[in-house]
Amino acid sequence: MQYLPNVIFVILLVAGIGFFVKNVSRLKRNIFLGKEESLTDNKPQRWKNMAKIALGQSKMVVRPIAGALHIIVYIGFVIINIEVLEIILDGIFGTHRLFAVLGPVYDFLIGSFEVLALLVIVAVVIFWIRRNVIKLKRFFKPEMEGWPKNDGNLILYIEVVLMVLFLTMNGADYQLQQMGADHYVQAGSFPISSMIAPLFDGMSISSLVLLERTAWWLHIAGILFFLNYLYYSKHLHILLAFPNTYYGKLTPKGQFKNLQSVTDEVKMMMDPDADPYAEPAEDAAVPDKFGASDVQDLSWVQLLNAYTCTECGRCTSECPANQTGKKLSPRKIMMDTRDRLEEVGKNIDANKGEFKDDGKQLLNDYITPEELWACTSCNACVQACPISIDPLSIIMDMRQYLVMEQSAAPTDLNNMMGNIENNGAPWPFNQMDRLNWSKES
């Protein structure tokens, strides 16, 4: 019986991590439903981008208030997790404050965790106020209704609860240390929780132990819960921001990819030796569909982008179309892509690893042509994203499908393209008149 807590702890830990691993493998499977895209080039630049943008939060501070608050929560999250290592080891071995042997270093660590925990609580409260009291416009777009709004708040609540549990655990521990309770070694410094310790005055050692243990268990259980909450939430960005910035676009923002399948056809058309009546080779692959109408037509990086999006809405708030009341919202493009991908993933799970046509697709069922045609391709959304998501590339791929597979461009654009085809300019002017300006006064 003596080892019962250890056994329960190990079961909890294995279950928590096991479930997380399962979710990660599902995530990976879904992301790689996307088309292959080789991004093995320019490794040094990619590492640099990841260090600067994800680790260094360089694009967060473009908006100083949100940026500073986010950095507090981010540093808190990373640093306080050192403490989780100790908690896990204590849980497995039944020890208490295993790292106390570090002496003054330990005091410093615990002290700084506490300060950070308090700062995190303050930052999270301000975040909550921004969302629920000040009601910042970017959190109140149509795509944010329902689950996305609740998800955002839920994350804030979980973070506060975890920090409060951490401080309660320390406060009770501090009180027990003062009282010289068995098992509670004199270790750590408690600049914040010592302030709440007076609340526990008059409590017996046994009830303090109960309080400390309850907070300890709930804290670690909460962390394991949060770890597994990620997959069902926008909060995956805490992990995916790193690969996403690594695989982010390195070429100039204005450079859109040239479709290889089109290049092949154009080359054949321009080749005087090509036989226009040639039968396709027996083993010739089915020609690629042009553009994207569903998530499988997008590249895996675009799908990674979708899971990485944390719905902050900076893209949408910078979007000229959205600012002027059009339906397009780059954030919605990312959320729709992720939601459809989840739907496709569940379909595959339900059908023994095989996708069964569900009569739906990303185009029309999630993203309407009206949204796609409102884009000015100005790259404001791409610039605004703090973690290198590229909504514009998805918009352009879907336009390609509309135009090249469905001939469904707006009439004005068909006229423009007809003009380019016929006379080499988007307007109906004769190419032979191209130099007339030089003779006009």
């Binding site: 204005g254 040239n258 154009v266 045609w373 707006p410 654009l413 393209m417 085809e421 300019a425 307007w427």
Partner: protein, 263 residues
């Protein structure tokens, strides 16, 4: 004055067995749009004054394919690109200057993958080089002390990271450069990009060019400077919509320099 414009074509250079220093890619707007043609001529006047050996393709030039590509017609884009590249490569073009950021972006970034490799510069970059090489001189003249705000073209700024060349030129005119609340990397689009120039906008509360014009008007400018023929049209329309055309001019930077030099 207009009769003094010297606009040699590549064909003429080729016939005489010589090569110009740079090809001036005029673009569709610069060739056909009445407002943009003024920018083209202003730029040519500066080139003439500076004795730059340049040529245009003239009737051998065709749309780069940019609006087709942004509209989703990759096929038409690549047909245009391959045709243009054949012409450019046949003339062994090394360096291209253009006053249109869309042409600039497409030729610079999207032609190399299809076999067209050239040094491509925007006319503001080219003018800045002429200035630093001492080939043109600039006095502020009538622009001295004027309040000027610069509207960043998306395909020059965000798309290609060129923010300073146009601004340096405005400062050289001894003008007072005032920035709009969203500028440079966060500059707001004029509403014309992505083939929007050629279609009606989707339903909304407002047109993008009006929103941008309002931002420009907040700076109380005497001149709104532009570096793109499409932005120029959009901002001109915006200023007219606000009935401010009597007080505020929308000018390309090349036009400002040409005017300052009385060209």
């Amino acid at each position: 004055m207009a009769s003094e414009l010297k606009v040699p074509t590549m064909a003429e250079f080729f016939a005489s067995g010589t090569v110009p220093e740079v090809l001036f890619w005029v673009g569709c707007a610069g060739s056909f749009d009445d407002r943009a043609k003024k920018i083209t001529k202003a730029f040519v006047k500066i080139l003439n004054k500076a004795n730059v050996s340049f040529a245009v393709l003239g009737t051998e030039e065709s749309c780069t394919g940019d609006p087709a590509k942004r509209a989703g017609n990759e096929f038409l884009f690549q047909m245009q690109a391959v045709t243009n590249i054949e012409v450019l490569n046949a003339y062994e073009i090394k360096k291209i200057v253009t006053a249109c950021p869309h042409c600039f972006n497409t030729i610079k970034n999207e032609y190399p993958g299809l076999g067209g490799n050239y040094e491509v510069v925007h006319h503001t970059q080219f003018l800045k080089d002429l200035l630093s090489e001492g080939r043109i001189s600039m006095e502020g003249g009538s622009f001295k002390g004027k309040r000027i705000t610069f509207h960043d073209p998306c395909y020059l700024g965000r798309a290609n990271g060129v923010y300073e060349a146009p601004r340096d030129l405005i400062r050289k005119l001894d003008a007072e450069l005032i920035e709009m609340k969203s500028c440079k990397q966060r500059g707001l689009c004029c509403g014309a990009g992505g083939a929007q120039m050629f279609k009606e906008p989707e339903k909304g509360d407002k047109d993008v060019n009006i929103e941008r014009t309002e931002q420009a008007l907040e700076t109380k400018p005497e001149i709104i400077a532009a570096g793109c023929p499409f932005c120029n049209t959009m901002m001109t329309d915006g200023v007219k919509n606000k009935e401010k055309e009597a007080d505020i001019a929308v000018m390309d930077i090349a036009e400002m320099i040409a005017a300052a030099e009385d060209l």
